[in-house]
Amino acid sequence: MAKLKYWAPVFMMMLPGLIYLFINNYIPMGGLIAAFKQVNFADGIYGSPWADPWYKNFTTKDAFVITRNTILYNFAFILVNNIFGIIIAIFISDVRSKAAKKIYQSAVLFPFLMSMVIVSYIVFALLSNENGMLNKSILPMLGMEPVSWYITPEVWPVILVVVNFWKGVGYGCLIYIAAIAGIDKATYEAAQIDGASRFQIIRNITLPSLVPSIITLVMLSVSKIFFSDFGLFYQVPQNSGAVFSTTNTIDTYVYRALLEQNNPSMSAAAGFYQSVVWFALVLAVNALVRRFSRENALF
């Protein structure tokens, strides 16, 4: 009893946070059964009748396209952002001038802090049909015909990979810079005295020391391979129907089915699929990491 009295004020302080997580995170988990219901907003999830047959909400012709797009984009993003992130991080860490280092580091991180709406305005300034910089200045200069970017699906994989690189590379880059800063300087000096070339130092000292960070970052991204940045895929192509074949992902599908086509059941099914695969992947990836390097495992 004395113990309870002692901790009671602490529990009172913890209560708002615990309740918020219960509402915002735990209640919706139960709502995942909406994937197997014929949901209507009036009856809510639990009052709505079951779907018949039970897998009805999952049968959509879009399933293949949205799964393919989500996975392929994620692979491209992981590859591009990590490779360039590592190269930029090594260069920034090796630059001798402190002032220059600070400028480079600020520049690489800044786009990460922008909202996707602002990013979509900038992309629009570049790609707009009538006024875009590409169609008005750059393509004519190169003697090329203007392109109607927002209705040409083939160009979007490249555009989205570039935009995602521009916006996101700073995130991984900073983690790699922090990891490089943790390497013992004496190792570098010893290698230099032994006459190792720059390339040898990067290959034999820097890169191996980055392996734990690389594993952690890549694994985190792999476990989220069924998720896509809703803003990137919805906002940057401006929700343009003509390019859905290359820009529709699970997250944009979930949004459009729920709020544009008013079909919560289909939307819930896609969300269910996403959550379950995600959970399985997190467990699998973590088990894999534990097996090879225990200290990098998430749990």
């Binding site: 809510g44 991180l109 800044f110 802090l113 009538e130 200045s137 927002y150 929700n239 969300g271």
Partner: protein, 297 residues
């Protein structure tokens, strides 16, 4: 570092590559700014350009003269960011304070309760139905404040770890002997000592609120509760609907009275201005936060 010929050449290579990268990162913002100060007709004739032929501050003048709607949205964003960040920091740190205490009953279960929210969630549909059907937050200010952004499990655990590692038990014991209650210990010991981590997680929470447009998109369809990002989102989707011919003639007529091309860019620039303004001073915290794994919102 040794000053050999190879090192000099390597430094040159680094600086060249990184200069190109810096220009690539910065040029879109320059383009945005330049578009906002380009004279309207020049813009329509020559398109968006880094070096406009004719400058004009007309867009900014327009915002200041006719911008009630813009100022209102800006005000909503400021309010939501301020209120949301305060609640976020308070709620996360109080929960983290409890979880950081080694003798807390049910400590392991409660920590797992927080941790599990990082591994699994119900997704948009159940959340949407719950928030609109059960809590009726659609078209209220709570819609901008509550869903997802009010607290994140990741940040709670970061703060917990910081408290556990930087505040020795002896300090708590000494305070208790002096007769301080738990609330007082939280306010006078934990909060001041946890300042570095609270500033970092608070900063990311603030950024999450400032940049958020999804809550407005999902839960609000009345302009009075829209933040600046939602207003921008609405303006650009109207333009898109017009150019793709999906819009009726009547709506298109309304659109012609809407902010012109350069004004839209000016509003976007004004929306990013606060982030740009604080960035040089807070860059250190952003960098540290990312290295630790803090998340937006």
């Amino acid at each position: 570092m040794l000053k050999t010929k190879e090192n000099r050449r390597y430094q040159l290579l680094c600086n060249c590559v990184l200069t190109v990268m810096t220009l690539f990162m910065i040029f879109p913002f320059v383009l945005l700014f330049m578009s906002s100060v380009t004279e309207e007709n020049t813009l329509i004739m020559n398109g968006y350009s880094l070096f406009p032929q004719k400058f004009s501050l007309g867009a900014y003048q327009y915002i200041f003269q006719n911008g009630q709607k813009i100022f209102h949205a800006y005000g909503v964003t400021i309010f939501v960011t301020a209120a949301g960040t305060c609640i976020n920091v308070l709620m996360s740190s109080m929960l983290a304070f409890g979880l950081s205490r080694k003798n807390l009953p049910f400590r392991r279960i409660l920590t797992f309760y927080v941790f599990f929210t990082m591994l699994f969630n119900g997704g948009l549909v159940p959340s949407y139905i719950m928030y609109t059907g059960t809590f009726h937050i659609k078209n209220t200010i709570f819609a901008m404040l509550v869903p997802n952004l009010l607290m994140s499990g990741v940040n709670v655990l970061l703060v917990r770890t910081y408290f556990a590692n930087s505040i020795p038990d002896a300090l708590y014991e000494a305070a208790e002997i002096d007769g301080a209650g738990q609330a007082r210990i939280y306010f006078q010991i934990a909060l001041p000592l946890g300042k570095p981590i609270l500033v970092t997680t608070g900063l990311f929470a603030a950024l999450g609120y400032w940049n958020d447009w999804t809550n407005g998109l999902y839960y609000v369809n009345q302009e009075r509760y829209w933040g600046i990002q939602n207003l921008l989102n609405k303006m650009i989707s109207d333009v898109q609907a017009l150019t793709s011919g999906l819009m009726s003639k009547q709506m298109a007529g309304m659109l012609s009275t809407m902010p012109s091309v350069s004004v839209r860019m000016a509003i976007a620039f004004v929306a990013m201005l606060p982030v740009l303004a604080v960035y040089p001073f807070l860059q250190k915290y952003f960098a540290e936060g990312i290295a630790m794994g803090a998340v937006k919102g």
